[in-house]
């Protein structure tokens, strides 16, 4: 019997705090939370019997008596990362949001608000996409979310700079869990870039279990970047669910670099004709990190297309998991779906599980997927070394190129170059260490 410490502790937290939780006074939120809590009590954290969770046991989380993070002061964490370029910066904290924006304020058509204070604005949206039925953390997040942000782009607005959302969870002395909730609405014909940035600190284990719901209306173009750089004491289990209307485009990047155990679900439903999406991601793990991605592209309408590229780099005793699910519903004809997933295993103890997963119920489709697991190309290494480049540098160069394929399209220049630098450092240190042995 696996321990249920975390589950009991969180259910207890819900029971004792339900009256104080945001939205307790408005019936529909209370009802939503109540149903979610029931569901969570029934199912708990997902186990290895669930197909999409079989490679990622959550036992390390189950064993910890997590309690919801206390309401923190509404100050930006001191070491907040540099701005990603000129961005509208938002810090999500336990007691609300903190905006860091130019003096002349937000541009017309962009709304950024604390989610827990704008619940009336998200009625009919909150919980619409992220259902509590599928196994995962949606239920517990819905029951307990105490922080979050609502970002709205009015129709036909084009943002002049990205929105940079910083989620920071900190715990000292006892294990804390944060349940941020994000709702993004990209109105008809709008365009914008949103970066969600996850960080953690403190000397005790943290758990972040965020849920993001994204509504992409017709003809909107939204770029969503998810950067997870939590500490090695952190657990991270997150979910992003999007719904796309006709002729909309969603580009998503998920960059999983930190945390000891991280799982991210990225799901999008192409619900209108002509909608397209591209999902890209990198998971780079070392030591004993366990990084899992699950993606699901639901081609629910005809003439929709999707593109997907995920790359994994696993060193030491790290483990990487990628499950890419593509579903083509009956009647959804004229579908194009392309998926590529590639992993590089750098050391003997590392392990990778990949599962590209196509489920197709229509015939006029063109779906391809390719998966590779391998090591660095010996010929390429030899070539570089024959030109006087050290083995360590050669390896780092090759891996940088491997990651660049995903990074190169990142819509924020400063973020792109920072990550590129970071990858090189990450890889450089990794190989240099081994070169000596």
């Amino acid at each position: 019997m696996s321990p249920v410490v975390a589950q009991d502790s969180l259910i207890e937290a819900y029971r004792s705090r339900r009256a104080e939780l945001a939205g307790a006074e408005s019936g529909w939120v209370e009802e939503l939370r109540r149903q979610a809590a029931e569901r969570f009590e029934e199912t708990g954290l997902p186990g290895p019997r669930e197909e999409v969770w079989r490679h990622t046991p959550l036992d390390p989380i189950r064993r910890v008596p997590f309690r919801p993070a206390a309401n923190g002061a509404a100050t930006l964490p001191v070491d907040l990362p540099e701005r990603v370029g000129e961005a509208y910066r938002v810090a999500v904290t336990g007691s609300g949001i903190l905006l860091d924006i130019p003096e002349n304020g937000l541009p017309r058509g962009l709304t950024i608000g604390s989610l827990v204070e704008s619940l009336d604005r998200v009625k009919g949206r909150l919980g619409q996409l992220a259902d509590c039925e599928s196994p995962g953390i949606t239920a517990v997040n819905t029951a307990l979310f105490d922080r979050g942000v609502l970002i709205e782009l009015a129709p036909h607005v084009t943002l002049d700079r990205p929105v940079h959302v910083v989620h920071h969870v900190e715990s000292n002395g006892e294990p804390r869990a944060a349940f941020p909730r994000v709702v993004i609405v990209a109105g008809e014909g709008s365009q914008g870039v949103i970066v969600e940035h996850y960080r953690s600190g403190g000397d005790s284990p943290t758990l972040s279990a965020p849920v993001t719901e994204i509504f992409v209306e017709s003809n909107a173009r939204l770029d969503h970047v998810r950067l997870q750089e939590e500490s090695e004491r952190a657990f991270h289990v997150g979910r992003v669910v999007a719904e796309q209307r006709s002729a909309s485009r969603l580009r998503s990047w998920s960059l999983a670099l930190g945390s000891s155990l991280a799982r991210v679900d990225i799901e999008t439903r192409l619900a209108g004709e002509g909608a397209e999406c591209s999902l890209e991601g990198i998971f780079a793990g070392r030591n004993r990190q366990h990084l899992d991605h699950y993606t699901r592209i639901d081609h629910a309408s005809p003439s929709t297309s999707s593109r997907e590229t995920y790359k994994g780099i696993l060193d030491d005793r790290a483990r990487g998991v990628f499950l890419g699910h593509i579903l083509v519903r009956p009647g959804a004809q004229k579908i194009n779906a392309n998926q590529t997933s590639r992993s590089v295993v750098l050391s003997r103890g590392a392990r990778v599980n990949m599962k590209p997963w196509l489920e197709i119920y229509a015939d006029d489709v063109r779906c391809t997927h390719g998966t590779t697991v391998g090591h660095l190309d010996d010929d390429a290494l030899f070539y570089l070394r024959s030109r006087g480049i050290s083995l360590a540098e050669a390896r780092a160069t090759l891996l940088r190129g491997f990651a660049w394929e995903v990074l190169k399209e990142l819509p924020v220049d400063t973020l792109r170059s920072r990550l590129d630098r970071q990858m090189l450092m990450w890889l450089g240190n990794g190989v240099a260490g081994r070169l000596e042995s």
């Binding site: 197909e51 009956p330 009647g331 004809q333 992993s343 295993v345 750098l346 050391s347 003997r348 103890g349 590392a350 392990r351 990778v352 599980n353 990949m354 599962k355 590209p356 997963w357 196509l358 489920e359 197709i360 119920y361 229509a362 015939d363 006029d364 489709v365 063109r366 779906c367 391809t368 997927h369 390719g370 998966t371 590779t372 697991v373 391998g374 090591h375």
Partner: protein, 481 residues
């Protein structure tokens, strides 16, 4: 488009061509399963006592197991107590030659297009024909005997080569392996046993024709092939079954063992009754097939053409234990009407420098659901392991489904695993091109489909390749897109 889809439909509507029932007196026991039934089967076949113990162990284990439901197939619950677990044609002594075989039986085989009588002279194929549950004729036995090759039914093997069987049975698929394999271990009635001694290259293709005949009898074959050091054998398995209204369970187990430098090639053409076009009747083909490359530089190759059965659920696998061993899997699976197939392979890389190739072609037509499910696992010790997988699906008609669930589990930094897959339909431009050159839509589809499957067909022995192409044509008749 409308023309061609009409053609596809007419193809899809074709009736099962091999549906006929042969009337032969059957020696059966009442339906149901308990320890007495197992004792009865074992006693009927005059088995050694260790075999009975093994069966009972499996049965007791089976009672504790639950039927798995993870595959991507749907069917009504199976009532295991309504199955007849033993049916043998009424004959006191086993026939020593073809002349002693019931002429009615021989006619059945003739209808199937494998005249046993002619086979000796014409094809050079030795056939161990399984009619329901008991082998009735084995040809070329003497010739094989000269080389020391043992090719006989499992019952005979248990009588005459008990030690060999005891050594290898359950060594690849243990009695506790999975629900259906465990059931098979408890109640298997017959099957084939092949042993090729050291250094011998089997001079002919060994072949068995299975055929389910008696109403409501599940068939539980158990096949065991052992290739000793440096030997080579190619084995063909093919089957067609007569029309039947009730679902029949077919839960066979096939075990292959290849020792050092040995090579086994196992080819299957499966054409069990698929049920009628509304999905009534048809065979449930739930088979466990697994090979073990036990020695260095050994090789096991599976080739399968799956056109029949209401539900096909099988994953011929290879355990690549020996260093430098090779595993191959070539498959064509066709589902039409309401057929469902969940098939693929497992390649488990354990030894160094092991390599595996997987080529899977799925064709879905009508309301057929075709799933490729595969696992490539590279163990930490399997340095320089190499896998290449290609799984393509062809869709004919807008109500069918094609799915792929490949699993890759790599635990070695020196391994290379590649997987490619592609799903599409027959291009209208391709069809148009053929048709404007005077090729009918149906022929064009057949041509395109055969081209699609060529990579697999060319792995089949020649006689089978011809049959497979014909079968594919028949299965897809009326479903041109």
């Amino acid at each position: 488009m409308s023309d061609s889809s009409h053609d596809i439909e007419s193809l899809a509507n074709r009736e099962y061509k091999w549906g006929f029932v042969t009337d032969i007196e059957q020696d059966t026991i009442p339906p149901g399963l308990n320890e007495d039934v197992i004792r009865h089967i074992s006693a009927k076949k005059g088995e050694p006592s260790w075999m009975l113990e093994w069966r009972l162990k499996a049965y007791r284990r089976w009672l504790e197991m639950t039927e798995p439901h993870w595959p991507h197939v749907h069917y009504d619950p199976i009532d295991y107590q309504s199955i007849v677990y033993y049916a043998a044609p009424k004959k006191q002594d086993g026939p020593a030659s073809l002349d002693e075989v019931d002429p009615e039986l021989l006619r059945t085989f003739e209808k199937l297009g494998i005249p046993l009588a002619e086979q000796k002279q014409l094809t050079g194929v030795a056939v161990d024909a399984v009619f329901d549950s008991v082998s009735v004729a084995t040809t070329f036995k003497e010739k094989l005997g000269e080389l020391g090759i043992i090719f006989c039914s499992m019952s005979e093997a248990l009588r005459d080569h008990s030690e060999l069987v005891k050594k290898y049975i359950g060594s690849v698929v243990p009695y506790s392996d999975n629900f259906f394999a465990t059931l098979n271990s408890a109640v298997f009635t017959d099957g084939s046993f092949v042993y090729v001694p050291k250094g011998v290259r089997c001079p002919m293709e060994l072949s068995t024709y299975f055929r389910i005949n008696a109403q409501k009898t599940g068939q539980f074959e158990r096949t065991l092939i052992v290739a000793d050091e440096g030997s080579h054998v190619s084995y063909l398995e093919g089957c067609t079954a007569p029309m039947r209204d009730e679902n029949q369970l077919h839960a066979a187990v096939v075990e292959l063992v290849a020792l050092e430098n040995a090579e086994i090639k196992y080819s299957t053409v499966q054409n069990w009754y698929p049920g009628d076009k509304d999905g009534r009747g048809g065979i449930f083909n739930f088979v466990t097939k697994r090979g073990r490359c036990a020695g260095r530089r050994s090789k096991i190759s599976w080739t399968q053409v799956e056109t029949g059965s209401a539900i096909t659920w099988k994953y011929p696998s290879v355990l690549l234990q020996g260093d430098d061993s090779i595993g191959e899997f070539y498959s064509v699976a066709v589902t039409n009407n309401r057929q469902q197939a969940d098939t693929g392979t497992k390649m488990i890389h354990i030894g160094k420098n092991t390599r595996s190739t997987i080529v899977s072609k799925g064709i879905s037509a009508g309301r057929g659901q075709n799933t490729y499910r595969g696992l490539v696992e590279v163990h930490p010790r399997a340095t320089d392991a190499r896998n290449y997988t290609q799984c393509d699906s062809l869709l004919i008609g807008d109500r069918c489904g094609a799915h792929t669930f490949p699993y890759i589990d790599a635990r070695n930094s020196e391994a290379v695993v590649e997987h490619e897959a592609c799903t599409s339909k027959i291009g209208e431009d391709q069809l148009f091109y053929c048709q404007q050159r005077g090729i009918s839509a149906e022929d064009a589809v057949s041509m395109i489909v055969n081209g699609f499957c060529k990579q697999v067909f060319r792995e089949l022995p020649m006689e089978f390749a011809v049959e497979a192409q014909k079968l594919l044509g028949v299965t897809l008749e009326g479903s041109v897109g």
